[in-house]
């Protein structure tokens, strides 16, 4: 606990200095609030719209978690299929890369046309953007096995099934966890981007708030929504990282350190 406090002090000092300079400059140069609101104005906006932001954060959070969980499940299934057959992997891998390279901003409107506004579209965008790291990491984890261990299994006449259950699946755990960490951050980004297009009067997530306030030049309000989505992203990433590290510590033995 003391160590954590110790680690938190330097970045907090940086934050404080940046905010103070920002505040001072905005005041001194008399910058128009719609261009760049002072931190204090953003703070006021956060308080003023707290109810709306809390609801938005809950919605975006729900979409992110649903998207992340779907990616994890779907990605694991795809990685498993890839690891079982070279042919399947060679046939479908190029299309998996498509997930990585497609400009999500370009296809999000399409998804809204097909799926309609609301949670479904938002979750789908989150899945598309967060699926790739799970697939690649998972496939690597399931296929890259220490050749010595494969020989060990062979010498004891292990079946293909035993090799999968006792060697490949548990061996892939650290790879899946690394993929999950990356995917958790991406899922929040995907959800916010999805909400740019899929938001409506019934569905007001953080992305919806950002796009609406940007249109009205309510910049302080926009900043407040950005702060909320950043906090949401950090929270999901933190939760996944901590869970992952705990799993990994058990996986490797209690006294080893995480990297």
């Amino acid at each position: 606990m003391k160590r954590m406090l110790h680690a938190a002090v330097p970045p907090l000092v940086v934050l404080f200095v940046v905010l103070a300079t920002w505040e001072a400059l905005v005041r001194a140069l008399d910058v128009a609030p719609y261009l760049l609101p002072a931190p204090s104005a953003i703070g006021e906006a956060l308080l003023e719209h707290s109810a709306e932001l809390a609801k938005g954060t809950a919605l975006t959070g729900l979409a992110s978690v649903l998207g992340f969980a779907s990616s994890l499940l779907l990605g694991a299934l795809i990685a498993f299929a890839f690891s079982q057959s070279r042919l399947v992997q060679r046939s479908f891998y190029p299309y998996a890369i498509f997930l990585q390279t497609v400009p999500i901003l370009a296809i999000a409107p399409l998804i809204v046309i097909w799926v309609g506004t609301g949670l479904g579209s938002v979750v789908l965008v989150a899945v598309i953007i967060s699926l790739f790291p799970i697939i690649t990491n998972g496939t690597t984890g399931l296929t890259r096995v220490d050749p010595g261990l494969l020989e060990l299994f062979a010498i004891h006449n292990a079946s293909r099934w035993q090799e999968l259950v006792a060697l490949r699946l548990p061996g892939s755990v650290p790879y899946f966890l690394a993929g999950a960490k990356v995917a958790s951050g991406l899922a929040v980004i995907g959800a916010v981007v999805g909400e740019f297009f899929a938001g409506s009067d019934e569905y007001r997530g953080l992305g919806t708030i950002i796009i609406v306030t940007a249109g009205r030049l309510e910049t302080a309000h926009l900043f407040a929504a950005v702060v909320a989505s950043t906090v949401l992203g950090l929270a999901l990433f933190g939760a996944v990282s901590l869970t992952g590290d705990a799993v990994l510590r058990r996986w490797r033995g209690r006294e080893t350190e995480t990297e």
Binding site: E151, I155, H156, Q162, P170
Partner: protein, 267 residues
């Protein structure tokens, strides 16, 4: 039953998929309860030979049998084998005892007395007290011991050792060699041990096969008649040094001969 040799090679040749000839014209026979040390210059196919005996690599010429059968068949049918690798090859997510249990699990069969046998195997290598720890919590020497316990828990007839303690410091290696010999005196499995240390080979073996530089071929056999029990004193005994010198001379002669008449790839 007349003592049939357990492992027999006749004019054995093995070519890697890339075309390189690893072993050629190899002849030897290994009887039950022998510990045969295999020494040779690096790249002479020592490890390859071990893998061929284990049925992990297909041979490309001549004959190789284990208990009268082709190696892979023998492994699956009638000869229980264990392999000790240079690395401990432990599964990091399994506890020490679960790693030892793995060998039994993979072989299947009745689970009767498993826990007792695992306990005994760990006792044998002096690790009963750390049975529930994870491999990462152990030193390199202890990890190798777990690997040894895993190899012995199945009560193998044939133990294949590929530079088993090569990655450890000399002190630890010598101690493990001694322990291995003590176990052999009790259990009398047959063993084929590859090592790059002539000293270690002489200490462990009942007989040594000296291989030529690649493609590997048996160029000399040296029986090791050191008395048992062999201990730390044996390691520094004059008899041992005499044998080490003999094996080393054969090794050097082999390298020279090989340079003079390089056998070309002919079967």
């Amino acid at each position: 039953m007349a003592e049939e040799p357990l492992v027999v090679a006749g004019d054995l040749a093995l070519r890697y998929p890339n075309g390189t000839l690893a072993l050629q014209g190899m002849d030897f026979a290994i009887s039950r309860s022998e510990v045969v040390g295999i020494v040779g210059p690096s790249g002479c196919g020592k490890s390859t030979l071990l893998r061929a005996v284990a049925g992990l690599l297909p041979i490309s010429g001549g004959a190789l049998t284990v208990a009268g059968l082709e190696p892979e068949l023998a492994r699956r049918r009638n000869c229980s084998e264990s392999f000790v690798f240079q690395d401990s090859t432990l599964l990091p997510w399994r506890s020490v005892e679960a790693n030892v249990r793995l060998a039994l699990e993979l072989r299947g069969g009745s689970q009767e007395r498993w826990e007792t046998r695992i306990g005994e195997a760990l006792e044998m290598v002096g690790l009963a007290s750390v049975a529930r720890q994870q491999p990462a919590q152990l030193s390199g020497g202890m990890q190798m011991r777990v690997s040894l316990a895993r190899a012995l828990v199945t009560q193998p007839e044939l133990l294949l050792l590929d530079e088993p303690f090569g990655a450890l410091d000399e002190m630890t290696r010598e101690r493990l060699d001694e322990e291995l010999l003590a176990l052999w005196e009790k259990q009398r499995w047959t063993a084929l041990a590859v090592t790059h240390s002539v000293h270690e080979a002489v200490f462990l073996s009942t007989r040594i096969l000296v291989l030529s530089a690649g493609p590997g071929r048996v160029i000399a056999e040296v029986p090791i008649d050191l008395p048992y029990p062999r201990t730390a004193e044996t390691l520094t005994s004059r008899e041992l040094f005499e044998l080490v010198r003999r094996v080393s001379t054969e090794l050097r002669a082999g390298k020279g001969a090989d340079r003079a008449v390089r056998p070309e790839a002919s079967e």
